[in-house]
């Protein structure tokens, strides 16, 4: 048992020495970042820990809850299941790239007005998944909204206000 423990300790040091760090160009919200990170670090970790973009949240880190959703070239992806080395030359969008407190994105505006964000923890992922939906389908039906967001869990709202907010943002942008 003791030997095994030491084994893991030794392995850790080995690992540390051998950890592959790759220089990467990551384009996030239109800004270029040159970073050197261990190749096994997930996009979620790199965004939050290395780039300090903590607007992207985590709920499970196993690809189950949708909380960490970001856009990769406009497509919603789970950042906890992506490795940055896969993403050279991709355009990554996080909630920080959607709008700011000074100028909200229409979706953010609708979420704020209708109370679609209660605790707000699932909101960044929800907003990005909704944005991707509206970009491919500017006026989705309620069922299409539900279908598109079904991979994102929310425990506060019962989803109703989120569906309404996406509808409202869609209607406004067509006006």
């Amino acid at each position: 048992m003791v030997d095994l423990c030491w084994f893991s300790f030794v392995m850790l040091n080995e690992l540390d020495r051998q950890i592959q760090r790759e220089p990467l160009n990551l384009r996030v919200n239109g800004e270029e970042h040159q970073i050197l990170v261990p190749v096994h670090k997930t996009l979620l970790e790199v965004l939050r820990e290395d780039l300090r973009l903590t607007g992207t949240k985590h709920g499970c880190e196993l690809g189950e809850c949708g909380t960490c959703t970001v856009l990769v070239d406009g497509q919603p992806q789970l950042s906890c299941l992506l490795l940055p080395i896969q993403l050279d030359d991709c355009e990554i969008t996080t909630v920080e790239g959607m709008g700011s407190t000074a100028e909200l994105h229409p979706l953010q505006q609708a979420f704020a007005e209708l109370g679609a964000a209660q605790c707000g923890y699932c909101t960044p992922g929800m907003l990005l998944a909704a944005r991707a939906l509206l970009e491919r389908n500017p006026l989705p039906s309620r069922d299409q909204i539900r279908e598109a967001l079904a991979g994102n869990l929310c425990r506060c709202t019962g989803y109703a206000k989120i569906v309404e907010a996406v509808e409202l943002a869609a209607q406004r942008s067509l006006r």
Partner: protein
């Protein structure tokens, strides 16, 4: 305290929350978003066994790993803690024994999480494995090895944690005059809060002062637990509620990781963070108790209840948590919903080797609600009556006192019922195999009438500061997403003639804010709202006084003259708010007012009367429409209609948000959510396998707000965050009966259970799936309580005076 409606400018408006922009832009700082210089990362080693003695813990190898800065074991944190004074049975790190898979044993802080995780692997723990106790039935028998907790602590047989037995009124006589008596058994499976945010805490220790940022619902209780376990004076500890990522009751206890990071910061001199993994959140739990119920009720041939005997057995998991209160809550609010002239209530809570149960949205009451609502449905069918009619005949009346002394004030049960029946077209519903509707009602507290630890202090305190730069409101209340910060701002803005954005807020920080008991038991709007109202009205008087003096109205201004000075639209009389602040500061010096709220004494003259009283109860009624497929057992909820008596909606947008969230969470419990165990382990501690409703599983919800204007709530307001969950669960079960003619007397109602009930019917057995019996247990002699006069509305000193006489 109700105000004249026509004059309200902020209250009642569907305004957005004051922090809405921060919550939709990713700017709000949650505990795990904090990253302090030189911060260490903490991981906790947890028991892999449900029940075992700890023989030894050897952390020497972990300490030698480069990058490891602190290692703690049970001997470093020996003092016990727990949320209730009567259940101080947890340790931040166990030293002698582990009681569930996930019980904390050791912890490491290191320069990064990977090193911390590797160091956990290097800690060697020797266990002597004991036979686990995994069910209520097993817990009520002599254990194979030893009880989970020392008998010196429990002072009860087997693995019994708490037991209680009450007789309110003459129960035997009540049953004797019944024309029909029925008994039923129900089971409500446990489930968990599943907040999207995992628990997280960050501690620093600088100049002998500890600061903890944490995702909690109650900074005050964390503050107290830290002081006890760390043996620090309260004035050397500061607890700050970080932006909150969802609680639902699951972050109302003080937790091991909060104590551990604090101790780590003290030992290492560096900031320390611990964020639980999703698996660990399932072990932290404190969720819905699994409850087995037996109910016996007597009714007249017209359907009036003559007596009820209600028994519950709660599977508490490994520790006390709020359990002593939870046991009461499974039975005590039956009488604030229905008029029960004689009521016997027995309950037992047991320890098992599972993650500890505690308060989840509705705390202990959804289980009883499920049982009683279905039980009354069955009685109605026995009598050939419509269940709605039978229930309506027994509705509690406004301004009455129940047989167990609980005082009902405003009560919109009739209005709520009428609203949902009409909206759903319940009485004229389409009757065909596979389609059905179910109806149920509920009541819930607007804050508990007594504090968790006995004291006579206010439950909520608010301070207002006004100077030439504007208004700041200080309150210990914690906004967990429900909008309690916004409610404070709305109240202060209303009274001072401002907009909510004009009110600066400082909340949930034990150094700077006065105590509020936090976001649980649906207490914040009622209690902090009343405290804010008092502070704001005092401030308004000061400002008006100064303006009046300036206008030469001076001296002791008669009230009616003061009323001629209008406070609205950022003006006080002829002066701008800012000018009025300058005048008042010149006149009175520093401007500060306080408000506080303490609920009146309501409970009856007996031991245990502190659980259940509330200054006001909310009421809900709900209809659920389902399709149930007899071939597959698949159940689809098509639509939910719910009406909620909130007294007055301080903000209808936020009320509807709370109602919709409650309905959704109730549907999750009714249909799929299950915290269950196999061979001593949680079956599915992951979000994928612990099924909760998605967008696709959640139907359209139609919400109706009913306003009864409560005499004691701020502007007449009552709670909205928990009550609306309660009727949803039994309404689903009633709808399944309406659709298929079978009873599923056990939550969750899965397709398998529906099929098993249909099979039973085919075999000529009872068309039912559910528990067979309530286990034998000696509840002892009940405490006999003389019922009050149902029209006796006395509270507080008057009531206490009556008890003395």
């Amino acid at each position: 305290m109700s105000a004249r409606r026509g004059e309200l400018r902020v209250i009642g408006q569907p305004l957005q929350k004051v922090d809405a922009a921060a919550r939709v832009t990713g700017v709000a700082v949650y505990a795990d978003d904090l990253n302090l210089p030189r911060m260490l990362h903490c991981r906790i080693l947890r028991s892999p066994h449900p029940h075992a003695r700890i023989l030894s813990v050897d952390a020497s190898a972990a300490r030698r790993i480069p990058g490891v800065k602190a290692v703690l074991t049970g001997h470093d944190l020996p003092i016990r803690f727990g949320i209730l004074p009567v259940s101080q049975d947890e340790r931040a790190l166990e030293a002698e024994k582990v009681r569930y898979v996930g019980d904390p044993v050791a912890a490491v802080a290191a320069v990064d999480e990977e090193i911390a995780a590797a160091a956990l692997d290097a800690i060697r723990v020797e266990y002597e494995v004991l036979e686990p106790v995994m069910s209520i039935e097993e817990a009520l028998r002599e254990p194979a090895h030893e009880p989970i907790h020392d008998r010196a602590y429990t002072r009860r047989p087997f693995n019994v944690h708490r037991q209680l037995s009450y007789d309110f009124g003459d129960v035997e006589a009540g049953f004797a005059r019944a024309d029909h008596v029925r008994e039923d058994v129900f089971f409500y499976q446990g489930n968990t809060h599943l907040p999207m945010e995992q628990h997280s805490a960050v501690a620093t220790y600088i100049d002998g002062r500890l600061t903890l940022w944490t995702s909690t619902q109650v900074v005050h209780y964390v503050h107290r637990a830290l002081a006890k376990v760390l043996e620090l004076p309260l004035n050397r500890i500061r607890v700050i509620g970080a932006a909150h990522g969802g609680g639902f009751g699951g972050k109302t206890d003080p937790f091991a990781h909060e104590i551990i990071v604090s101790k780590m910061a003290m030992v290492s001199g560096r900031p320390v963070k611990c964020t639980l993994t999703r698996e660990e959140v399932f072990y932290a739990h404190r969720g819905r108790h699994p409850v087995l119920m037996w109910i016996k009720t007597g009714v007249t041939s017209e359907g009036r209840i003559t007596a009820m005997h209600y028994r519950s057995a709660l599977d508490g998991g490994a520790y006390g948590s709020y359990g002593a209160a939870s046991a009461f809550y499974t039975g005590t609010l039956q009488t604030t919903t229905y008029d029960i002239p004689a009521y016997r209530f027995d309950s037992v809570r047991v320890f098992t080797n599972k993650a500890p149960c505690g308060p989840k949205r509705g705390h202990g009451t959804p289980q009883g609600r499920f049982g009683v609502e279905l039980h009354l449905e069955k009685i109605a069918h026995d009598l050939g009556m419509d269940p709605v009619e039978l229930k309506q005949k027994n509705f509690v009346k406004p301004f009455t006192r129940a047989v167990n002394w609980l005082r009902v004030t405003s009560c919109g049960l009739e209005e709520c019922t009428q609203k949902v029946l009409d909206a759903a077209g319940y009485l004229g519903r389409e009757r065909r195999e596979g389609h059905g509707m179910g109806f149920a009602i509920s009541s819930y507290m607007s804050g508990a009438g007594t504090a968790i630890y006995w004291n006579d202090m206010a439950h909520s305190e608010v301070q207002l500061k006004v100077d030439r730069t504007g208004v700041t409101a200080y309150c210990g209340a914690m906004d967990i997403g429900q909008g309690s910060d916004s409610v404070l701002a709305f109240v202060v803005a209303e009274e001072l003639g401002l907009t909510p954005a004009d009110v600066r807020l400082v909340t949930a920080d034990t150094d700077t804010t006065p105590v509020d008991l936090g976001s649980y038991s649906s207490r914040v709007t009622f209690m902090a709202g009343n405290a804010a109202l008092e502070a704001a009205r005092k401030m308004r008087n000061l400002l008006v006084e100064a303006v009046a003096e300036k206008r030469g109205l001076g001296g002791d201004l008669p009230a009616d003259l003061r009323d001629t000075i209008e406070v609205r639209d950022g003006r006080i009389g002829d002066f701008s708010f800012e000018e009025a602040c300058v005048l008042a500061t010149a006149r009175f010096g520093a401007l500060s007012t306080t408000g506080s709220y303490r609920p009146p004494r309501i409970g009856g003259p007996f031991k245990g009367s502190g659980v259940g009283p509330s200054p006001a109860y909310s009421y809900s009624a709900c209809v659920v429409d389902v399709d149930a497929d007899a071939r597959s057992g698949l159940l689809t909820v098509n639509r939910v209609w719910i009406a909620h008596d909130v007294g007055r909606a301080i903000n209808p947008l936020l009320v509807v948000g709370q109602v919709e969230g409650s309905v959704y969470m109730g549907l999750g419990e009714a249909l799929m959510e299950e915290q269950s165990y196999r061979k001593g382990r949680h079956k599915w501690p992951s979000m994928l396998e612990y099924k909760s409703p998605t967008f696709l599983d959640t139907p359209e919800i139609e919400t109706f707000i009913i306003e009864t204007v409560d005499p004691e709530g701020p502007y007449g307001a009552k709670e909205a965050g928990q009550g609306p969950l309660l009727p949803v669960v039994p309404a689903v079960a009633a709808a399944v009966y309406d659709a298929l003619g079978i009873w599923v007397d056990e939550i969750p109602i899965t397709p398998e259970k529906i099929l098993r009930a249909l099979e039973a019917r085919q075999k000529g057995q009872q068309a039912r799936y559910g528990p067979k019996a309530f286990p034998a247990f000696d509840f002892g002699q009940p405490i006999r309580v003389e019922p009050p006069d149902p029209h006796d509305m006395r509270v507080g000193p008057e009531l206490e005076e009556a008890f003395r006489a």
